[in-house]
Symmetry: C2
Subunit: 349 residues, 2 copies
């Protein structure tokens, strides 16, 4: 057992796009599990867009990360010391270990992973929080009906790819938006989207709306919102009467300064957005997946077999080494990842 571990802390708050200087790799003493707790060696850790929001000192759904505090997040690891009867050394478990090589977590906050069902890394993506986010928002807020049209951004990411594939299975028309021709080809050919629009080849919201109009001849019934920015501006006027907008993220705005403390420049888009919600009788439903863990077993029961038999495809973008997590995170925020962003931190055994 090593007596030290590595972790990455928030060194200073970003202004706009984070850089390496916002993070610091530290070596600290290995923690010991208390009664009911478990020490794990991290195998894979998750990088997710919501983490960008926590780097700002603004009210969010979880408290901001403090300066010099370890970056938080989900990870999957191997138990190396247990003071809980529920876990034994060698068990694989998923929990909120944060950005680190090891972690101590209460056994009650760990979920045991059966490594025989799927690669353990899937517990961070297609069978973890992102997949669950897509499944929950699509079904519970999207209220899909066969024949309707759905649009989702970040279509090859772990949330968007789940939403698009579920939509196709329920008989909807599914249109993706992604950054790059390679991602768009993958969305159509591997994930089964009816069409995918490359926003990098699109100059502005107006041009994007034109492409969406061609891809959505019957308008849009469900806009699964994880992007905001230009995509929201393009989509909103195309929503059909009675449309639904499950809202779980706004990656385009996390880095833009639009959510910062200062005032953003105009025009003020709120009045027209508000009117569109009224005129088209839209329902916008913000949700945070951690409110809904009571439905996680339902999700796994439905989606686990679909992943097992290949009816739900997934793709992972794996970076090796904890020390490379900041670069991988910055790449992801810039849309340069392709699939669920994961850092391989250590090997099992």
């Amino acid at each position: 057992m090593p007596d030290q571990m590595q972790r990455i802390v928030l060194a200073k708050r970003p202004e706009g796009q984070p850089t390496r200087e916002n993070f610091r790799l530290e070596t600290v003493a290995m923690p010991s599990p208390g009664e009911g707790e478990v020490l794990l060696k991290v195998l894979y850790m998750s990088l997710d867009p919501y983490m960008r929001g926590r780097m700002d000192d603004a009210k969010s759904y979880s408290a901001p990360v403090a300066i010099d505090e370890q970056m938080g997040g989900g990870a999957v690891g191997e138990v190396i010391e247990s003071r809980s009867s529920r876990f034994n050394p060698g068990d694989i478990a998923m929990g909120m270990f944060g950005w680190g090589s090891h972690g101590v977590v209460a056994a009650s906050e760990l979920r045991k992973i059966d490594a025989g069902v799927a690669p353990v890394s899937t517990s961070l993506g297609v069978l973890g929080m992102p997949g669950f986010t897509g499944w929950y928002g699509f079904n519970e807020i999207g209220k899909p009906k066969a024949g309707e049209t759905l649009v989702v951004g970040a279509a090859t990411g772990p949330v968007g790819s789940m939403v698009g594939q579920l939509a196709k299975q329920k008989g909807l028309r599914a249109i993706g938006i992604a950054g790059g021709a390679d991602k768009c080809a993958y969305a159509v050919e591997e994930l089964g989207f009816d069409a995918c629009i490359d926003h990098r080849a699109t100059s502005d919201a107006k041009a994007l709306r034109k492409e969406l109009s061609e891809a959505c001849p019957d308008g849009i019934d469900i806009y699964f919102e994880n992007i905001a920015g230009m995509t929201l501006e393009a989509v909103l006027p195309m929503m059909n009467v009675g449309g639904r907008i499950p809202l779980c993220g706004m990656i385009a705005w996390y880095n833009s300064g639009a959510l910062g403390a200062g005032e953003t420049s105009g025009p003020d888009r709120l009045p027209k957005a508000w009117r569109t919600i009224l005129v088209n009788r839209l329902t916008v439903g913000g949700f945070i997946i951690s409110d809904h863990f009571d439905r996680f077993a339902d999700f796994l029961a439905e989606v686990g077999p679909l992943v097992g038999n290949g009816k739900i495809a997934y793709r992972e973008d794996v970076t090796e080494g904890l020390e490379n997590a900041p670069d991988a995170f910055i790449r992801m925020l810039g849309g340069k990842n392709f699939g669920k962003t994961i850092v391989k931190v250590g090997d099992a055994g």
Copy 2:
């Protein structure tokens, strides 16, 4: 039977606040009812904020009024000629006659009014579309629970006063916003609001939020949105997790130019509003009451007796004479009405 009637048409589109020049009173030939139609003499006509939206040449939930076309709207009248077996001369009925002294409407689009239950003018207010709007949005989108806190603007208007009184009957804390000390006193003393804030005595959104914070020590669970503008800006950050926003109007923006064809000046309030919807897991539900007439009988069955026995109070602001409708409408948009705005157009019999 006179051979002519009066009507008011849209003379030109307003820029911002309407003026008398936007309207024109005309005398035209009396129309004749066709088979299945009914000719009515209008007794009372309704003036409602949504009519301002229809004066703009912008997509809305109903087509814009064309230039030289009669202004639309609900009215209650007495049948003077019937070519339908469902109506006889002397019957009182409510329908969409528009701004005019008389009107021909298909019998199938008329609702017969029992003048014995309440004054017939109530079919335009507390027992008509405005009251129904408040009842539907409060119950179906607001999903109220005893002990929660509700905020509604235009608290002494026909929608806001319904919402506030229903909220009190269901055991919620109800906070109104209204323009003027007299309206606020009425909201608290006659309608039973727990408090009412005078937005005319409030300098900006920040000051309004400060007053709301004192009136809503436990935050806000339901914001019944018919105002938008400064009130929305003040309320949104105070919404509790899981809060609901039934959205049926935005009177503050109808006249401000914020919804016009041009770009409005900044700051862009959409990103922060969108983040608040996400972070606080809000549900914003736009609705148009004409989609829900299948529930009108339920509304009347519940609220009719409450109006009859005085448990739901109402107030009407009556102007005499069709020719004075434009002035009354302009007064209402400026918040100078006190109660449901109605024009008395003619006498029965």
